[in-house]
Amino acid sequence: MTLMILQRLFKSRDTIILLSPALAILAVTTIFPFIYCIWIAVHNIVIFYPVPLEFVGLDNFISSLTSPIYGFWNAVSATIIFTGCSLAIELILGLGIAIFLNKEFPGVWFLRYILILPLVISPVSIGLLFRLMFLPGDWTLINWMLTLIGLQPIRWLADAKLSMLVLILTDVWEWTPFMAMIFLGALQVLPPEPFEAAMIDGATPLKILRHITIPLLREVIAIAVILRLMDSLKTFDIIYIITQGGPGEATQILNFNAFVQAFVFGNLSIASAQILILTITVMIISVLLIRLVRRGT
């Protein structure tokens, strides 16, 4: 019976055979766990010590949003600072690098190639790279450079604001090439006529950027920002390696805070509630942004 309905829908038996492994696995590994996540969020499940299982309704959502002990609003502000700053810097730098690498000059292929490196290197290694550069003491790269220009070594990761700065720098190093690659690909297929016309009219490079390049790239820029936004909100590895969310809770973004709630404090239900709030927010933002892009074109 089900098979017949499926056959109607997909018109052929082969299609079902082709699709079913992927759909079955994704159903087991994403749809079912997601529903289970909702179930966990409306019960009280704590690992490490047993509590009687109880249905608590929306209590976990409400206490996440109202009680400071679950660190939700602290995480919200950390997330906004981290994502906002890194996204803005990556966008500007990425565009600049793309315009630069769009020129043809000897050796440009090598520069285009090394831009791939931060994208394939594991975030764990990238975290280590920056941790090693920002260790305390006068022997680490950054502090040594500071002493060269006559400044005192700084304990970067002991300060809330500086830790956040290090994380943003790491994220910029990791993801600016991604932006640059996308923009470079788009620049290479742009029609040359508007640029030639502007050159003949004697427009300055800045004017060309402002009035031709950016408007032509608008859609690509929007897509790149959406993709980066979704990934940025999920950042975990570099935070785990570099600051572990500290000092205190200064660098715990929402995703990391939920991890801590679940696997350090063992409060799976609170963590599920928080991650559901994040997931729904991300989905709403993504849909709105995609709508906005579609309407613009």
Binding site: T15, L18, T30, I114, L117, L129, M181, G185, T279
Partner: protein, 279 residues
């Protein structure tokens, strides 16, 4: 005059870009070759020479732990990418060129790639509970199943792009000759886009090799991957200042990806940017 000015700008920008990318990597590479007494010296000749391989030896000497993690990572990343590439290509083929209702096609495609939006933790917390109950916790099959959640969507997205470039007439000719859809996929289409298949496979491998969060939560001692080993080594590295071995892990861990990226240079750009950039 203008030409010369432009050349100077290009040279300076190139140098800045090179330093920006290579400075962190070089610093870690240098530290990984330093002995424990050299690490705390300020940068100078004595700090960097003579070089030593002690840090790398240390990793392999600390017992079977590290070697085992490498094997686990190889097995998990290898099997995940084989399975995901096959299963994902099948789905991609069905979605891209087998006739079906437009609304179904669009929704299926959107649903599969929208997996990417969801934070891993939303499925990981249930995974943790379920794996504890079913005995999949800390096993290699469990990790492979978990990694399917992001490798299959990636494969579908990537392969749809590659299939798109093959003229549909090829399918039609094969259909007239009496091939089934499944035979067309495996005997005709996949051999045609071997290159795309290879890039997809290798990127799946790199994605699984690099992954930390899932492995951290779903493995203990047995199925621990090298990503987790590297991450867990850090706290002890911090206490006893074992920065040399820590740097060695970091270098060792990034080598496969760097090697692959050099071999695949051009086609990789397209894969990494989710098919938005044609290499």
């Amino acid at each position: 005059m203008n030409k010369r000015y432009e050349r100077i700008v290009i040279t300076i920008s190139s140098i800045i870009l090179l330093v920006w990318i290579f400075l962190p990597i070089t610093w870690m590479l240098l530290i990984s070759f330093e002995s424990q007494s050299q690490i705390f010296l300020k940068p100078s000749l004595e700090k960097f020479f003579p070089i030593t391989l002690d840090n790398y030896a240390y990793l392999f000497r600390t017992g079977a732990g590290f070697v085992r993690c490498i094997f686990n990572s190889l097995i998990i990343a290898g099997s995940t990418s084989v399975l995901a590439t096959i299963i994902g290509s099948m789905a991609a083929y069905a979605i891209q060129r087998v006739p079906m209702r437009r609304s179904i096609r669009d929704n299926l495609f959107f649903w599969i790639i929208s997996q990417r939006i969801m934070p891993f933790l939303a499925i990981l917390i249930p995974f943790y509970v379920l794996y504890q109950q079913t005995g999949l916790y800390d096993t290699i099959p469990g990790m492979i199943l978990a990694y399917m959640t992001f490798t299959i969507p990636f494969t579908v997205f990537s392969m749809v792009g590659y299939f798109n470039e093959i003229p549909i007439e090829i399918d039609e000719a094969a259909l007239i000759d009496g091939c089934s859809r499944i035979m067309i996929l495996f005997k005709v289409l996949l051999p045609i886009c071997k290159a795309g298949l290879a890039v997809t496979f290798l990127l799946n491998f790199v994605l699984s090799w690099n992954e930390l969060l899932m492995a951290l939560i779903l493995t203990g001692e047995n199925a621990r991957t090298i990503a987790v080993a590297a991450a867990l080594f850090l706290p002890s590295a911090g206490r006893s200042a074992l920065w040399g071995p820590a740097a060695a892990i970091g270098i060792f861990f990034m080598l496969p990806a760097i090697a692959l990226s050099f071999i695949l240079r051009r086609s990789l750009v397209r894969g990494l940017t989710m098919g938005m950039v044609r290499g």
